[in-house]
């Protein structure tokens, strides 16, 4: 076994800091009025975290990821934001909901036919179902979200929708903690495209838990653009709290339950966060569904991005097509852990997973760990992983056609990214995903 040296004392002081951070956060939260159910949920999550600390690197799921950056975020709920500035105007056929954890994003909106607010009684029944099915209810980011969330945005889709639903949060330069809880229910045969965009620049923590339930034959195409940006250099440093320099944190958990003949496509592009942890989890509860996962993450500076995906086939004839890509530059750390679980009942499963990482700097680090657990004999499961720098022969080919080395490298990197970005829902182009991912100045 490889023992990764973790200083005992440092761990302890950190865990104390984590415990203090959590209790400070909880004491700052107002008491929930209104929904007794939600208040109960919140209470349970807080109790579960009471006496707990941050996730520790001694836990296998956090072995490569240092969560201590969380304690640099001011431990209070984010104030209600002024309408975020500088969002691109929504494209035609886009229904944009701006989420700030305070107001009701549906207020005053006329929803198109086939899309409606889920009945509160149904919300109580279904909320947490996908988390449980994915065995994720006890995960730290999920508990934290449960302790925070003041409302659940719950939508039912009853037919194929011709629009793209945009779910947007932008905490800007603000400091504090934002909790968002979402639930999507797709009826049999319904289909939906969702583009989820989270932006942050300040010392904020954005915590998202999205549950989705796909009925038989339903189709969900989901894009996640997680566009963090390094904190702006403070103009008047003495006026800002000391934590203002901390980089934003994203904890994103996505739990999906798929019924047979449903199709799920998840595409995520993440960059710019001090710490980002993504947990896409899917269970095909009776198998016979199709899951397509695409991920792209980039780290630079001292950033850490960690994707922990998990796909469970709880019935036969399921399919998975997964590609995860990572770019590590600067002194960044990129972590990918992709679990694929094929129990006995999942005969004839066809699952393929590929992880491709590019290491661009000698101070950066990549950890990647596919995980395959199989107890069925008639299955096709393959996974592959590569870690390298850019292919020298590809670079040379471009150079031999007169393209300068740095430009050739940029072209190849763009190509590497575009392959994933091209799978995002169409309106994503307005959010300039490539430029932001590459840390370039977005075009005006």
């Amino acid at each position: 076994m490889v023992t990764i040296p973790v200083g005992e004392l440092r761990v302890q002081s950190r865990s104390l800091a984590g415990e203090a951070w959590l209790s400070e956060l909880f004491s700052s939260l107002p008491v929930l009025a209104g929904s007794a159910w939600l208040a109960g949920q919140q209470q349970r999550a807080r109790q579960a975290l009471a006496g707990e600390s941050l996730p520790s690197r001694r836990q296998e799921a956090w072995r490569f990821t240092d969560a201590s950056a969380i304690t640099a975020i001011p431990a209070h709920r984010l104030e209600r934001l002024a309408a975020p500035a500088a969002l691109p105007a929504p494209a035609a056929q886009v229904l944009r909901l701006v989420l700030d954890g305070h107001g009701d994003p549906l207020e005053g909106l006329a929803l198109p036919e086939g899309l409606e607010r889920l009945d509160p009684a149904v919300v109580e029944e279904l909320c947490g179902e996908a988390l449980d099915a994915n065995g994720a209810a006890a995960s730290w980011p999920v508990q934290l979200n449960g302790a925070l969330a003041h409302q659940v945005l719950a939508l039912r889709v009853s037919q194929p929708l011709p629009i793209v639903l945009e779910l947007v949060s932008d905490t800007g330069d603000a400091a504090g903690v934002l909790g968002l809880r979402l639930l999507l229910v797709l009826d049999p045969g319904a289909s939906l495209e969702v583009l989820e965009v989270h932006r942050a620049r300040g010392a904020s923590l954005t915590s998202v838990v999205l549950e989705a339930r796909l009925g038989p034959g339903a189709r969900l195409r989901h894009g996640l653009l997680a566009q963090g940006q390094p904190p702006q250099p403070a103009a008047a440093a003495d006026e800002l709290p000391s934590s203002a320099g901390a980089a934003p944190v994203l904890l994103h958990h996505l739990a999906v339950v798929q019924d047979p003949a449903s199709e799920l496509q998840l595409t995520a592009a993440v960059s710019g966060w001090g710490l980002a942890r993504l947990e896409p989890m899917v269970v095909q509860r009776s198998g016979a569904a199709f899951t397509r996962l695409r991920g792209l993450q980039r780290v630079d500076g001292r950033q850490v991005v960690d994707t922990h995906s998990r796909v469970l086939f709880a019935g036969p004839d399921g399919r998975l097509d997964q590609v995860h890509k990572a770019l590590a530059d600067g002194a960044g750390r990129s972590v990918f852990n992709g679990a694929v679980i094929v129990p006995r009942q999942a005969q004839r499963t066809d699952a393929a997973q590929l992880s491709r990482s590019l290491l661009l700097s000698d101070r950066a680090r990549i950890d990647t760990k596919p995980e395959l657990e199989i107890v069925a004999d008639d299955v096709k499961c393959a996974h592959g992983a590569t870690v390298s720098r850019l292919q020298q022969d590809e670079l040379f080919y471009l150079q031999s056609r007169g393209i300068a080395a740095d430009q050739a490298a940029r072209l190849l990197l763009r190509g590497f990214c575009e392959e994933v970005l091209a799978e995002l829902p169409t309106p994503s182009a307005l959010w300039q995903p490539l430029a932001l991912l590459m840390g370039e100045e977005p075009a005006p």
Partner: protein
């Protein structure tokens, strides 16, 4: 189905090495304490440095916890209910084979390892270890002519103390893990090999480990040193009688390879695996690690793991010398209730180091077979390369095949490639072979050895045929 046999009927052949040799044995009392460690050291008349080494390890062990991260499960081990030293009652080592208890010679002959002058294997020198002691080593004199030292580690402690002192624990520190600490405290015997500078060992060397007592733990220690430009091929074999209790086997193997030297280490592990209900069998918790210290040095591990109730084992290479090469070729077969969590670690430290991992896991019955490996490119491993391939074959829908490859890189100019796949013996493939006149059992065996071919190709010739047969036997009754 027209054929009466299903692949499922083909797997469970009785374990043919399950007999017990009735021989008077000297055992110490059960249990582990500082006194026991001192007693073992005293019985072996060890120098002070070794007693210190053992005591230090024992104290470290007391502070450690049994690891729980592997995909294995077993009732907790009572370390006070194990005998830490057992030896056949006779002078520890006889000057000549004629003086060795004929019962022991007979035992090894029955295992296919004749030791006597007339019958011994040509071209392979054998060190035979029975419970806690080495009882005979063949061809010692012939090897000595080449300057090769091949003897039990107990003898080496007396005759080559300076080598033991400088190399023992230098690759696997006693506090490396729980079982290496335990082994360092109580190790009984094992083999020592030293190949001096520039020498190619004139024959293959082999150690055969035999557990005989029912309540004894076996803790061997193997140390192989190849000096500059030296090379050796070493084979290890293991069997144990059938008991309905579990026995602990916690060995440590250390390899040290200097500049331009190479060690090829092959294992065919066939400890008793327990019965079909999972009763009895060996807990095989082994730490094997090689250190490629010199430039262009080379270590190759090949293992065929078919026995043991539980196998926990990750033969590894620390590739420090520039351009050094590490290889790991493994076939692990589990059947019935066996559990295996095995794989390799390739730690690339030096520039242009290269490693290859080829792992073939076959899971049948209710067994669980996990590949767990680590490939790590350190900051200085410029131009280093790794290629890993992990394939699983599943037989029946009750067996588990898991793959957990850990990959870490801190060097942009290093490349890692990992591939994994699963397959089974499909009814269509079987029918195809049968429709060409190939019998059912032969068809299964062809497909299994075809699956393992990349690994068998790495075994020394006489071992490869043995491994093929062993696999066919072990699989009997499981495919279907």
């Amino acid at each position: 189905m027209t054929s009466a046999a299903t692949v499922g009927d083909l797997v469970s052949q009785p374990y043919k090495y399950g007999f017990v040799t009735d021989i008077e044995t000297e055992k110490i009392a059960k249990g582990l304490s500082e006194d026991v460690v001192r007693l073992i050291s005293a019985k072996k008349e060890e120098p002070a440095f070794l007693l210190d080494f053992r005591l230090r390890a024992y104290r470290q062990w007391l502070q450690m916890e049994e690891p729980d991260w592997a995909a294995i499960g077993h009732p907790s081990i009572d370390y006070q209910n194990i005998i830490y030293y057992a030896a056949p009652k006779q002078q520890i080592k006889k000057a000549s084979l004629d003086e060795v208890d004929p019962k022991l010679l007979e035992t090894f002959e029955k295992l296919g390892i004749p030791l006597s002058e007339q019958k011994r294997l040509s071209n392979v020198a054998v060190d035979a270890v029975f419970d806690s002691v080495s009882i005979a080593t063949t061809y010692k004199e012939k090897l000595a002519e080449h300057g090769v030292i091949f003897c039990s580690i107990s003898e080496a402690v007396k005759d080559h103390a300076e080598l033991i002192e400088s190399y023992l624990g230098s690759v696997v520190p006693s506090n490396d893990n729980y079982f290496s600490a335990l082994n360092s405290a109580v190790f009984s015997d094992g083999s020592f090999v030293f190949i001096p500078k520039g020498v190619t060992c004139p024959m293959d060397l082999s150690t055969y480990f035999r557990i005989n007592s029912g309540d004894t733990g076996q803790f061997e220690r193997t140390l192989i040193v190849a000096e500059e430009g030296a090379s050796v091929s070493y084979l290890e074999g293991c069997t144990a009688p059938m008991f309905d209790t579990n026995q602990l086997h916690a060995a440590v193997v250390e390899l040290i390879v200097l500049e331009d030297a190479s060690i090829k280490y092959s294992t065919v592990q066939n400890w008793y695996a327990g019965d079909e209900k999972g009763v009895g069998g060996i807990y095989n918790f082994v730490t094997k690690r090689g250190h490629c210290r010199g430039d262009r040095s080379h270590i190759s591990w090949t293992q065929v793991e078919t026995g043991s109730a539980i196998t926990w084992k990750y033969p590894s290479c620390v590739l420090q010398g520039a351009d050094s090469v590490g290889e790991f070729y493994s076939v692990a077969l589990t059947n019935n209730r066996q559990q295996a969590d095995t794989g390799s670690k390739m730690i690339h430290v030096g520039p242009r180091t290269r490693s290859t991992i080829v792992s073939k896991g076959i899971s049948a019955g209710h067994s669980s077979n996990s590949y767990r490996g680590l490939v790590q490119m350190g900051p200085k491993a410029v131009g280093a390369r790794n290629y890993s391939q992990c394939d699983s074959m599943l037989i029946g829908d009750q067996a588990a095949a898991n793959t957990y490859p850990y990959i870490r890189s801190q060097q942009p100019d290093a490349s890692i490639e990992h591939e994994a796949s699963t397959c089974r013996i499909s009814a269509d493939q079987l029918f195809y072979l049968q429709s060409r006149g190939i019998g059912f059992e032969e068809a299964v065996s062809m497909m299994v050895s075809g699956f393992c071919r990349d690994v068998f190709n790495q075994l020394p010739l006489e071992f490869a045929a043995e491994a093929d047969k062993l696999l066919a036997l072990k699989l009997e009754g499981s495919v279907g």
